[in-house]
């Protein structure tokens, strides 16, 4: 694993948008006064005529996005996860998802790794909120490469999608020629039959580190990257349950309603086995450097190792 290069998934979002604009001339990008942070500003610089700042009005922005999409265009609407999924939830539900409009919500600053801004900005609920909305596709890329691939995949994807990106520069590990991104298809990154670590987003690189540490202790842990939370790759999860008998889910999100819950939903009906969910417990976060917060909240390689060993 080449963990020397670190880049935030939000950078993959911005760079992906620039590349996508060449494939889709009908594309429009909206932001709510956070273009510098969400990286839609990178797109705006190259395509000023296709970028519209909505000011600090996330609710109206989602409605505008729906209206533009209703005229046949591909629309991205961006803000922080907290304000996109949180504040504008009902507009996303009623104006975007219900009429199945082609709006892609680019939500950056997901999870606790927002860091110093504190709990008001640390969104650990967005995946849960988006999962309950019919017609919604949810993608949570694990690194810069995957973030860009997810954006480019939107060229062919029709309908509402929620793309979650992180603020923190994180290891880039998908930079290999075999890398393939397919919506709804999990990637098995490491083989192993002693346990399966099913991770998403920022936690995938931690899961890979955990795999290496466990290997030194003679434990072969399978690592699966679930970038698409919905529709979920049920097959890869059920196979992991059958072949390893022990599942650990890891996500930078509440343990309620996110990847862990989605995995349990599948397994409880098809192949019930114990699942250990690692995520943010049912609490709010607080200010601090991202790396320290991740450790404090148990979102680290060490915690994954401990969960597999127990």
């Amino acid at each position: 694993m080449s963990d020397t290069v670190k880049k935030a998934t939000r950078d993959g979002y911005g760079d992906g948008l620039v590349k996508l604009a060449e494939l889709r001339p009908d594309m429009v990008v909206l932001d709510a006064d956070l273009a510098a942070a969400t990286k839609t500003g990178v797109f705006a610089k190259v395509n000023p005529e296709k970028f519209f700042n909505c000011g600090i009005q996330e609710q109206n922005m989602m409605g505008v996005a729906a209206g533009v999409a209703s005229t046949g265009k591909l629309v991205f609407a961006s803000s922080f996860a907290m304000f996109a999924a949180g504040r504008a939830f009902e507009i996303i539900r009623n104006s975007i998802a219900y009429p199945k409009l082609n709006v892609k919500i680019g939500a950056t600053h997901g999870g606790i790794s927002v860091g110093e801004d504190g709990a008001s900005h640390q969104c650990n609920e967005d995946i849960a909120l988006m999962r309950v909305i019919p017609n919604m596709t949810i993608i949570n890329p694990s690194d810069y490469i995957e973030a860009e691939a997810a954006v480019l995949a939107m060229a062919e994807h029709i309908g509402p999608a929620y793309l979650r990106f992180g603020r923190l520069a994180a290891p880039v590990f998908n930079d290999n020629p075999d890398y393939c991104f397919k919506i709804g298809k999990g990637n098995q990154l490491r083989d192993g039959n002693d346990a399966a670590i099913i991770a998403t987003g920022l936690m995938v690189s931690e899961a890979l580190s955990a795999h290496d540490e466990l290997k030194e202790r003679g434990i072969n842990a399978r690592v699966i990257n679930i970038h698409t939370i919905k529709p979920l790759d049920k097959e890869i999860i059920i196979n992991a349950a059958k072949e390893t008998g022990k599942i650990i889910t890891v996500e930078e999100h509440s343990v309620i309603g996110g990847l862990g819950s989605a995995v349990c939903d599948v397994l409880s009906e098809v192949y019930p086995i114990p699942v250990k969910k690692i995520g943010v417990e049912d609490v709010f976060g607080y200010s601090g450097p991202a790396a320290e917060l991740l450790k404090k909240f148990g979102l680290s390689c060490e915690c994954i190792v401990k969960a597999v060993m127990s």
Binding site: G63, S70, S95
Partner: protein, 286 residues
């Protein structure tokens, strides 16, 4: 507008009202009050004004209509049926299982419905998005949207109002249906609005105030909006909730209540009698 044209519009508006009564009576629920009140303007828009074609409802160049006050779907469905988008008889399926005439409008299922609405304030933002898209393509279509006066209590409405002025969406024409009533009573008692005109003017809109039951005023207001070079326009129209059915007029109770059989018979008799008078050429007053 000639006297003959005016009579024709008045007759059609009565037919639109009959469709509203048919729909809500058969559904045993729905929102007849506001629907009746906005029927005159809707009739003018769909019969005289908008660049639309029932045979090509998805034409990208068409004018758009967004019923932001989505609960008045009975009025929208009824005028669409009168305009030939689907059979008038289908209005009786309103709100029934399997019907495409859902309680609130759904785009894609009903020809002529340009956006899904029902949650107040949201249609206005969508209309802004359509207007923004048209303007950035240099497309000539216009976007019409209808808001209730109660609806403008929603914060999202003022986000959209600011947005439309900022992007100079002069291809956007909003109506505020100022009937002074909302579900819980008089707007002034529930949450007073102050000056609707003053608010929109302060947001940078071209504001026109009219009587929403006077076809000449409706026509002139719409002509005036075409002159706006860099501002979105809002037509604040005074209307009477329940207009055209005497026992429903200006009563908040008819916001979301369907007529029973006796009331249905009475309302239909009144509207049909009105059509007979108009057809005899004796109408013409408001």
């Amino acid at each position: 507008m000639t006297q003959k044209e005016k009579l024709e519009l008045q007759i059609t508006a009565c037919k639109v009202r009959i469709g509203i009564i048919e729909g809500t009576y058969n559904a045993k629920c729905g929102h007849p009050g506001g629907s009746l009140g906005m029927s005159d303007t809707l009739t003018y828009l769909y019969m005289k004004h908008m660049n639309i074609d029932p045979n090509n409802p998805n034409n990208p160049k068409r004018d758009r209509f967004v019923l932001s006050k989505g609960h008045n779907a009975p009025a929208l469905y009824s005028v669409l049926a009168q305009r030939g988008y689907f059979p008038v008889d289908e209005l009786k399926t309103l709100r029934k299982i399997g019907s495409r005439l859902q309680g609130h409008p759904v785009m894609g299922s009903v020809p002529g419905v340009d956006f899904s609405t029902g949650s107040l304030g949201q249609g206005f933002s969508a209309a802004c998005g359509m207007a923004l898209s048209g303007k950035s393509d240099n497309s000539s279509y216009k976007v019409y949207t209808f808001l209730g006066d109660g609806e403008i209590q929603e914060g999202q409405v003022w986000e959209a109002a600011m947005f439309a002025a900022h992007y100079k969406l002069n291809n956007l024409i909003a109506f505020v249906d100022n009937n002074g009533l909302q579900i819980d009573g008089r707007v002034e008692d529930v949450m007073s609005l102050g000056s609707i005109q003053g608010k929109f003017e302060a947001f940078g809109w071209n504001v026109i105030c009219i009587d929403g039951h006077d076809f000449e005023q409706i026509e002139n207001a719409l002509k005036e909006t075409a002159q706006s070079s860099d501002k979105p326009s809002v037509i604040v129209q005074k209307t009477i909730k329940g207009k055209g059915v005497a026992f429903m007029e200006d009563k908040a109770a008819w916001h979301g209540t369907a007529p029973n059989k006796e009331q249905y018979i009475s309302a239909m008799a009144e509207l049909k009698a009105r059509i007979a008078v108009l057809e005899a050429g004796e109408g013409g007053e408001k």
